[in-house]
Amino acid sequence: MRDQLLFAIAPSLAALACLLTATMRYVQTRRSLEAAEKTTRADEPAVGLTAWWRYSIAVVFLGHVLGIGFPGSLLLWNRHPLRLIALESVGLIAGTIALASLIAMAVPRRWWTDRRYLQSSADVIMATLILLELVSGLALAVRYRWASSWSGVTLTPYLRSLVALKPSVVLVARMPFVVKLHVFCAFAILAVMPLTGLARMVVVAVRDLTYAAVTLVTLVWRPVWYARRIWAARIRPTIGDGEM
């Protein structure tokens, strides 16, 4: 029952909360987005610790996305011990750098007391959850080796069952505590994210991705459109000749 609550009901609620809150915040903050974005970039240039943090967390995030998206390919990659060790090492190093840079940014600047960094309670909760997520991720990588392989047949099918709206907790229920903590924290982050300063980043990312997708479609479609016009222009006189 507890597993059902934590890993079937809570993720659905988290996704719903994320969607609703993100939509509401997007509508509210869309107009002030440009100014906010400029302020953020001016205030926090991606150098030093911030750069370390951003790049390392991006590597960790990308690794998780690829693992969830292509578990079969990942298993194929991991068949060779050297490749498996290389992949796990990259993940472990990136996770360690992310954790170290987060702590190195937070402790000297006293994030927990300075309102410039953690502006709301949601920001404090979010920072705590990210910290927990990183610590639990590193702990499971060290304690339970080759997560990139075993997660492909345990956590990935579980996550896919959530996406398919047929949640099945049987695979995650048998996992050790630290794995469950890692999974639960991920859903908690999803739920809290739209309430924090990070929401702006998500909104900007969604806007930029939409713009990129529209540009790509236009770039691909324009030559097709021109080709069709040229082809139509060539065909038309022939049809006309036939009618004559």
């Binding site: 298993l75 991991n78 339970y144 080796r145 075993w150 579980y158 099945s168």
Partner: protein, 235 residues
């Protein structure tokens, strides 16, 4: 006509003998009821080879055919009529089963029948070095499982293989602990429950189960001590 009568007698006598001896499991059912007219993987006999029968026909069709082939033929079923013509119009005698027996028999055919059963019952001690090597390759992932599942090394470590995972227990002494048949059963079930709606993965096949079992036996130091003990006693 005499041949048909003779066939019917043979089937009825074998059926009666089966009841007298008591039938346990679909393997025994196959041996006592079907083997008179059918083989599994050795070609046609009086009736067709039953290997792959569940791929050729649906479960519903098989149930109808086995319980009353003549009714199915009279109903005009094209597959039933084609079979009847192909096998010299020898009617297959109607079979009656206790509840669940026919389903179990069809499942047995779908799972590989007596061929697979023989592999499942084979003792790990009879494995060749090639089969042990295959087991090792499957364990460490050098060779992928047919189902596409993760290799054992993802979660388990064993003896001299230094790169084993640590989510599951060390399997160095798994053979001593579970012994032949129980270990095969555990491997064939797989370590994780499957989600049929989400993933098309299937359990390891019988050859893979046997190879893994043979490798686990070979890697188990307790097993070697157990084997060398009688020879030492003789000296």
């Amino acid at each position: 006509m005499r041949a048909k009568a003779l066939l019917l007698c043979v089937v009825l006598i074998s059926g009666a003998a089966a009841k007298a001896h008591g039938e346990h499991g679909p393997g025994a059912l196959f041996q006592r009821r079907c083997r008179v007219c059918h083989t599994y993987g050795s070609g046609d006999l009086i009736g067709p080879d039953l290997k792959g029968v569940t791929d050729r026909h649906t479960r519903e069709w098989l149930t109808k055919w086995i319980t009353s082939s003549q009714s199915l033929i009279r109903s005009g079923d094209p597959a039933a009529n084609a079979l009847f013509r192909k096998y010299k119009q020898f009617p297959m005698p109607d079979q009656s089963f206790a509840a669940g027996e026919l389903d179990a028999l069809i499942n047995y055919f779908a799972a590989g029948g007596p061929v697979a059963e023989a592999t499942r019952n084979r003792r790990a001690a009879t494995a060749t070095s090639a089969e042990i090597d295959l087991g090792r390759a499957l364990f460490v992932g050098q060779r992928g499982l047919a189902s596409g599942g993760a290799p054992c090394v993802s979660c388990h470590s064993i003896g001299d293989i230094g790169i084993g995972g640590s989510l599951g227990p060390d399997l160095t002494r798994a053979f001593s602990r579970y012994q032949d048949r129980r270990l095969a059963l555990l491997i064939s079930r797989g370590c994780f429950p499957r989600l049929p709606d989400i993933s098309a993965r299937t359990p390891p096949n019988d050859d893979e189960v046997f190879a893994l079992k043979a490798f686990l036996r070979q890697a188990d130091p307790g097993q070697h001590l157990h084997e060398s003990a009688p020879s030492q006693a003789r000296h």
